[in-house]
């Protein structure tokens, strides 16, 4: 599974570098570094609602379980900050990881 953090100008100004660092630490803390690849991405759209974080490469059965449209196949999180990153990770991203 991939976590893509937007590093486009708009998100950068809202602190995407901090979000990346925080997510890196979180992946380590929850011991899922090997299961999740953290990536940077230029512009995920939705510039006004940054920092945007997109999760894709999710296994199909997981998507069904959490109610993601398989046609889209990804989860997009808005307004991610270094402060709320852990809460969002635990609540939204962690259930998607194929353990």
């Amino acid at each position: 599974m991939n976590i893509k953090v937007c590093v486009g100008s708009s998100c950068h100004l809202k602190g995407s570098y901090d979000v990346i660092q925080t997510l890196k630490d979180i992946l380590k803390k929850y011991d899922v570094e090997d299961l999740v690849e953290l990536q940077a991405s230029f512009c995920l759209g939705h510039c006004a609602k940054g920092v945007n974080v997109k999760t894709d490469g999710i296994a199909a059965p997981k998507m069904e379980k959490v109610g993601i449209d398989p046609k889209e196949g990804y989860l997009l999180l808005h307004n991610v900050t270094k402060e709320n990153a852990e809460e969002l990770f635990v609540k939204e991203i962690y259930p998607l990881i194929e353990l």
Partner: protein, 476 residues
């Protein structure tokens, strides 16, 4: 006076712009196939000629300019080309005694000549061309200003002596010597030397992306852009670029941050290094100082670094570099870049593109442009890397870097000769082919002292004050 007249420094740039704009407009609205017939008549309507002997000559030259706008001679690998029809066969007499010479008694010209090349014959100074070294001292010594030095501006501008005069008195470029810096492109007063445009390729890439659905097209923009925005703010130019059909705009300076990091590392291993970000400088070293080529930094240029990063995050992406530079049009084709860049657009071409699409930059909303640090942004000016390398080395705990900024090819040559002779006091050589750095690039829209101030200001506005967040980004 129409608005565009105020944008460019010279009328040569203006005519190039008008041709480009018309070609771009036709690429979208149709009529490209008739461009050679219709555009010359449009731009030189007559009945009187404005710049040449007659409208027919003007139109013939315009046809050749159209050819350059559409890619130029495909069989010539050089991005810089002479437009034969436009070359005005300027005199090449060197020191020339005009009729204003009064044959005076003092003959300061003769006295000041270091080579005894001047004699007074029939009350008139006469120059022995075999002895004359064209130092120009006599031109300054003559109290009547009767002696002038006649050189072709193209040959004067070419610091690698790649331009000579052929049997038809036309300028000709030796590709083996040319480093594609483009100095002659800006300096020829007749606009007879030009860079080839890749704009039709770029339009093709944009069209085939089908509004960024087939693949995404990214613009990597050189930091010198900040000095070029006479109409509208940089943030509005970014919006304009997006309206041209680009998915996203990324600062080339992002790559520069990483280049700086790599250069400190490499310097620490080799203890002697030159920069590699200016492709004309690299070419200059390879062609003129092959024994020093081993010291050229192995890091790729910021343009390529930024493009590689984009393609890592989006493997099907197409990346277009937008900058002030003719030699980037040469660099992007080099094998060592690994196809990171798909095409290159100049600032001149960007202006034509935006205007051809009817976009009024001043009326646009702002888009943010902020990827890189202060140091990445000031790569655009001479001395920027030399300044950055000291600070970054310090933060990385590397000691002993003694940089020098070599501003323009003349300075590069002087300092590399010293280095070759083992007499250089420095161990880090920043080389830039253009006087002043990229902000004075040949295909900049304006070349003003204000450009340096603008780049410094832009540098200071960067969110990132050091390169290390960028470096971390590249390492995830």
């Amino acid at each position: 006076m129409e608005k565009s007249n105020r944008v460019f420094d010279t009328d040569v740039q203006l005519v190039k712009y008008k041709v480009l704009k018309e070609i771009i407009r036709r690429a979208y609205e149709g009529g490209l196939e008739n461009a050679y017939i219709e555009v010359p008549k449009l731009l030189s309507p007559g009945p009187k000629a404005e710049t040449r002997c007659c409208i027919y000559k003007e139109r013939a030259i315009l046809q050749d300019r159209i050819a350059m706008a559409m890619g130029g001679d495909k069989n010539n690998p050089n991005v810089i080309e002479v437009i034969d029809s436009a070359c005005d066969e300027c005199p090449i007499d060197g020191i020339y005694v005009t009729p204003a010479c009064r044959g005076c008694m003092v003959h300061s010209c003769k006295e000041v000549c270091p080579k005894n090349a001047i004699t007074i014959v029939n009350h008139k100074a006469t120059v022995d061309k075999d002895k004359c070294i064209e130092c120009g001292k006599c031109t300054q010594a003559c109290p009547y200003s009767a002696i002038i030095l006649q050189h072709r501006p193209c040959m004067m501008s070419c610091k690698v002596k790649a331009i000579s005069i052929d049997e038809n008195k036309k300028a000709t470029i030796d590709n083996n010597k040319c480093i594609s810096c483009g100095a002659c492109v800006y300096k020829c007063p007749f606009g007879a030397i030009s860079d080839k445009s890749l704009i039709l390729d770029i339009i093709d890439i944009l069209k085939k992306s089908e509004n960024n659905t087939k693949y995404k097209v990214y613009a990597v923009i050189a930091p010198a852009i900040v000095s070029q925005c006479r109409f509208g703010r940089v943030s509005q130019v970014v919006t304009a670029i997006k309206q041209l059909g680009f998915y996203h705009v990324v600062e080339a300076a992002l790559g520069a941050d990483v280049t700086l990091y790599r250069e400190v590392h490499e310097w620490n291993e080799k203890r002697l290094l030159t920069t590699s970000c200016c492709p004309s400088f690299v070419s200059f070293v390879e062609k003129n100082f092959p024994e020093l080529a081993q010291y050229i930094s192995s890091s790729v240029s910021p343009m390529v670094e930024a493009a590689r990063f984009i393609k890592k995050s989006d493997p099907t992406a197409k990346v277009i570099f937008i900058g002030p530079c003719t030699s980037k049009k040469m660099e992007y084709r080099l094998e060592k870049t690994g196809g990171a860049i798909d095409s290159v657009m100049s600032f001149e071409e960007l202006q034509a593109f935006v205007d051809a699409r009817g976009i009024d930059t001043t009326q646009l909303e702002d888009s943010e442009l902020d990827n890189a640090s202060y140091y990445g942004r000031i790569f655009a000016k001479s001395g920027g890397i030399a300044h950055g390398i000291v600070d970054v080395a310090k933060e990385m705990g590397v000691e002993g870097v003694a940089p020098i900024a070599m501003n323009g090819i003349a300075e590069c040559k002087a300092n590399l000769l010293k280095l070759k002779a083992g007499k250089a006091a420095e161990n880090f050589f920043e080389g830039m082919a253009c006087d002043g750095g990229c902000l004075n690039g040949p295909v900049c829209i304006t070349h003003s002292p204000r450009n340096v101030v603008d780049v410094d200001k832009y540098g200071n506005e960067a969110k990132e004050k050091t390169i290390f967040n960028t470096v971390k980004l590249f390492q995830i």
